[in-house]
Amino acid sequence: MATGPRTARGTVTAAGLATAVLLAGCSEASSGGEDGGGQQRDAELVLTTPAAAGEIDRISWALGSEPLSLDWVYSYDYPPNTVVSNVCESLLRIDESFTPGPGLAESFDNPDPTTWVYAIRPDVTFHDGSTMTAEDVAFSLNRHLDEEVGSYWSGFYSNVESVAVTGPLEVTVKLTQPDVLFNQMMAVAGGVVGKQSFIEAAGEDHGTPDGGLMCTGPFALQEWSKGESITLARHDGYWDGANAAQAETIEFSFLSDAAALANALVTGAVDGTYGVPESALRKVLESGAGNVYYGRQTSTRNLIVADLEGPLGDVRIRQALSLALDREGFADAAIPGPSEPSRAVASKLTWGEGAAGETFAAAWEELPAPEQDIERAKELVAEAGAPDRPIVIAQSPAPVQQVLANEVQAAGKRIGLEVEIEPIAAEAYSALFGDAEAREGIDLFHTTWYADVADPLQIYVNWQTDNFANYGGWSDADYDALVDEALQEGDAEARAEMVVRLQENVTENVLWIPVDHSANSVFLSDRISGAPATNAYLYYPWAAQLGARG
């Protein structure tokens, strides 16, 4: 259910082994020159950057745009979540590899499939020094159920019947039907706890520059200078001493222009950023101002089939277009970091650990390799007959999308399909994801869609009949039933078996056209180190790990 489409920045993805091997030789990573004109296709994937050597007074970080709000109920995009993850904490906490563990809840219990009991950690203090209570927890979770609030995370609460305080440090959530994703969501923004009296007093201003935030994280919101920057200061009374912040302050500047960002990184005005834009990467690497690290991410690049009735109505035409795509050529032209042609929509980072992870890995090998096969594609077109009107692909001004749209057009030409490119302004592009009217006349559009948790089920619920992300309007009773069954399956391995079947179904029917798994990138200046390299920074207090470089 996670949408990752809104900002162009930070939307690159991951592939490769889940080893936590650190980049061998920083200079090798930053020289860039030898490996294909500044490209780093073979760069190693790491879980995190080298640990910080010690504390640091001030870090300057760049965000692709100003967060619209820091209220976590409205934070479902790269810029807000990058900041909120350091200020506000959830009941559970993921690590760099998206593995969940205890957070503000010391432990949880699942006495029956529809009951989740959270034991709240005692002695956790908010940034104002007051102690967090079970009432604060219940109030925070209940906000997602309030229609007046209009939480972006309310979808994950659709099976929640009630959230109540059931003991001095205990909160119980009752579900109307079993839902395995609910508890997983308690590790991300859907499970954030804020101070009740503060939220009530702030009212509509909560989470804005005028109202602020009152949470428990390693950093507190110090200043939000509208349109310019957000400054966080270390929370000295942080409950988790082992993970306390290394930096005294971190200032986030809003730099939407890739050239402006590149200049700021090169001159050292900014120390780091996630998702270095493709166009800025080369300049940054050549400057020697710091290093770029790559890690896996829970998102993949796909072309969403927005209309399953139009020219892409016949599955053979969709298969043909997918077979005609030159994914390697696209990656060579547009993706500067590691990238792998993808076989399915769910990213490898979502597979999880243990037996479930092995099930997904085995299923991946079974899926058809994403190799170009023009002959087979032509046969499919001949069988189905070319559609009577051109296939329309939407394209925002983001360079990656331009390359991809051109490749789709070329792929169509190779096999006798006419593809028309419809240019759309960057900001208007995001309307495609929420507004059916905006998708009128569009057959295909680009997305880097991310999962919030390490469970591919979160991706495959998208094709349930009434899901908002089911843009093509796919409807299959068996599929819907299997999703419901998987949502009720508490055993991760048994669930993986079901999700693999969902994945096969989506892949066979080409409901989205998978393009590639590319890597998350993070730039760190030569002053700092310690940030995770995966996209766990969306929900994990990553900035606390950032400190001086050794």
Binding site: K226, S253, A260, F433, D466
Partner: protein
């Protein structure tokens, strides 16, 4: 004169009221509404849609909505931004000073540079004139984003004289930070104004009364000052007023390139996300700036050209 000012102020009020209605109407005729943004990323239940629509009064008739908006606007309350969920007043209040400072700085560069080059070009025919002509042609043809790229790579990244982004703090900090953006914004306008000034000067220099003044033996300096420049400035002042007020929303590209928090980039972002309250407030601001700039021009002209005084009184 005071009656003239009063009359203009009255006209200003009427203009603002009319344009406010046009702006409001236009935003509501445009397709789409903020509901989809407010409910982004979800399968909205009918109750959620109804709650959002009620919150923003989207189901009232347009005239009722307009009446509520204009009534609140008169008390300084421009509503709440749909995307930022903040008061529009505070949202723009934080960004307006940067944009106003940038526009003022660029205007000073435009006026000083444009007048100097225009005079020089008109009074020194031959090599100097041709050199200025060449330079101003290049300046006019340089879009602000191209100027921005060049200025940043040379003076901010290369020489390190100026910051690469941000608006700076305090007077000195602001002037320092806004120098490159103001040059990027004003460069092509310097060229434009120099050309207008030159043309206007050359025309005045050919006039009979200038020949008369010279024949009467007045020193050349006085001829140029009293009989040429003063008259030549009339069209220059008029065009300057129009350019400056238009600059207020022409800053988007420069603001983005230099990472400045201003209202130009805010307007662009708000239009595409259908953030009605913000767009309406910025449009009103721009109309206000146009009307005020025209007022200033109208007050200046009689000082320059006595013939327009009869009209003014």
């Amino acid at each position: 004169m005071s009656r003239f000012v009063l009359r203009r102020l009255y006209g200003l009020g009427v203009t603002l009221l009319l344009t406010s209605f046009l702006v409001f109407g236009a935003m509501h005729v445009a397709p789409g509404d903020p509901t989809s943004f407010l409910l982004s990323g979800r399968t909205p239940s009918p109750e959620a849609v109804a709650a959002v629509r009620a919150q923003y009064h989207l189901d009232d008739p347009v005239l009722v909505q307009y009446g509520r908006w204009i009534g609140d606007a008169l008390t300084g309350d421009f509503g709440r931004s749909v995307q930022f969920r903040q008061e529009v007043g505070g949202l723009l209040g934080a960004r307006l000073p940067t944009t106003v400072a940038l526009v003022a700085y660029a205007s000073v560069i435009m006026v000083v540079g444009g007048l100097l080059l225009g005079f020089l070009s008109a009074l020194r025919p031959g090599k100097v004139d041709r050199a200025v002509l060449f330079g101003t042609t290049a300046a006019v043809a340089t879009p602000s984003f191209v100027a921005a790229i060049g200025l940043i790579s040379l003076f901010a990244v290369g020489l390190g004289w100026f910051p690469t982004f941000g608006a700076g703090e305090g007077l000195v900090g602001t002037v320092h930070s806004l120098t490159l953006p103001a040059i990027a914004l004003g460069l092509s306008l310097v060229g434009l104004l120099a050309r207008v000034t030159r043309a206007s000067m050359v025309e005045e220099l050919r006039r009979d009364h200038v020949d008369m003044a010279r024949l009467r033996g007045l020193p050349e300096g006085e001829v140029v000052r009293r009989h040429v420049a003063r008259n030549a400035l009339v069209p220059v002042v008029t065009i300057t007023g129009t350019i400056v007020s238009g600059l207020l929303v022409a800053t988007a590209i420069v603001e983005t390139a230099f990472g400045l928090p201003g209202i130009g980039s805010m307007l662009v972002q708000s239009v595409v996300t259908r953030d009605f309250p913000v767009v309406q407030a910025i449009c009103l601001l721009v109309v206000l700036a146009f009307v005020l700039a025209n007022l200033v021009v109208d007050l200046l002209l009689p000082v320059l050209d006595p013939r327009t005084r009869a009209y003014a009184s």
